[in-house]
């Protein structure tokens, strides 16, 4: 009975370690981070006034990163260098893009995250949210991967629009 309990204990540790390893090291990192877990943003010219499905997508994406990960806060500041915007690219399957500037020292100076309003699927709120969440993931420092993650380019954007366990682990590893 005692031997069984010991074996069970060892088995649990081994199984737990395997699970831990799988979930901890599957994310990919960009190799840079933002200076702090609290950062400002401003709206770009196409999202500055009024409301839109893309603006809502960005607002929900910021809330989800704040609530589900160690990321602390995105806060509005009209003088911020970080910009959230949309652009209209026709004849393109692009959903979004992120550009992070001054990354050579491992800390990005600022970023620009944009969602393509010319993509015919972007009118679906979950798709807009999924794209905005993905782009902010890049801004914070996580890279593409091929597992169950918001950073997987092959994800179903109508279903997967929240940071997943791997994304949460990725942000925790950076900050």
């Amino acid at each position: 009975m005692k031997r069984y309990a010991v074996l069970k204990g060892i088995g649990t540790i081994v199984f737990g370690s395997v699970l831990f390893c799988n979930s901890s090291f599957a994310y990919e990192l960009e190799g840079y981070k933002m200076p702090a877990t609290s950062t400002s943003y401003k709206w770009g010219s196409n999202l500055d006034s009024g409301s839109s499905v893309i603006k809502t997508g960005f607002i929900d994406a910021m809330t989800n990163w704040e609530n589900k990960t160690v990321w602390n806060d995105f806060f509005y500041n009209s003088n911020s260098l970080n910009t959230l915007n949309s652009w209209y690219e026709v004849s393109s399957s692009y959903y979004g893009r992120n550009t992070s500037y001054g990354v050579s020292d491992g800390v990005a100076d600022y970023f620009k995250s944009e969602v393509n309003s010319g993509n015919s699927n972007i009118t679906k709120i979950n798709v807009a949210k999924s794209t905005a969440t993905h782009e902010l993931g890049h801004a914070m420092g996580i890279d593409h991967n091929d597992i169950n993650s918001i950073m997987n380019s092959a994800r179903n954007r109508e279903v997967l629009y929240m940071p997943q366990t791997d994304d949460i682990n990725g942000i925790a590893a950076i900050y």
Partner: protein, 231 residues
Amino acid sequence: MLKQNKLKIILSSILVLGTISFYIFSNKEETIHVLASADYPVTENLDEMAIESDLVVMGKYVKLDSKWNMARNPKDISQEDPENYVEGHIYTFKVDYVVKGNIQNKKMIEINHRYSETIDIEDGDGNVEKATNLDPLYIQPDLNAKYVVFLKYEPTQNHYYKAIEPFTVKINELDKVELQSNLLSSVNKAKKNEFKAGNKTFIIDNEIHKIQDNISGMSIEELKSKINQKK
């Protein structure tokens, strides 16, 4: 007298050293590093390529027809976006066989390939450089080769564009297919764009997703049959 000379020497030395330091500092090489990432649909699966496509055709690229700005003014898409430039290359494609979709009796269609985009980069001194970032997915079509292409229709422009990445398959002389994509693990394509302006070097690194090739080696008949099953 001796004291005055000493003072002159010290002041001259400070002046010379200051001038040299200023010269070195103002001519210091500086690198500005930018990382560009994008979100676009990707697959490793032929079924998904077929499902995502409005049109799948076999044929040949005939010529590069024109270049245009794919970024449009959101308030009036007949106008270019004054703030963004995304260069598209429109190729004329001669259709030999329609695998999926309908092009009525047309023999030629136009296919848009995303070629590059312009990125504004601040140089740290208040100047903004317009940098051309070649699309890391762009592959120049081979005008002498046969292809199968997986496309979506764009009604506002009346042409086609890629349904998903990858979207082109080359057919070799043995009628076997070869998947085309810069995302393939076997393709070691430079995804870095670099240019100099004055004493500053700008590096744009494109972050891309790697995929496996599950298609190359199929016969063209096998490819057509698999696509037909997904119609």
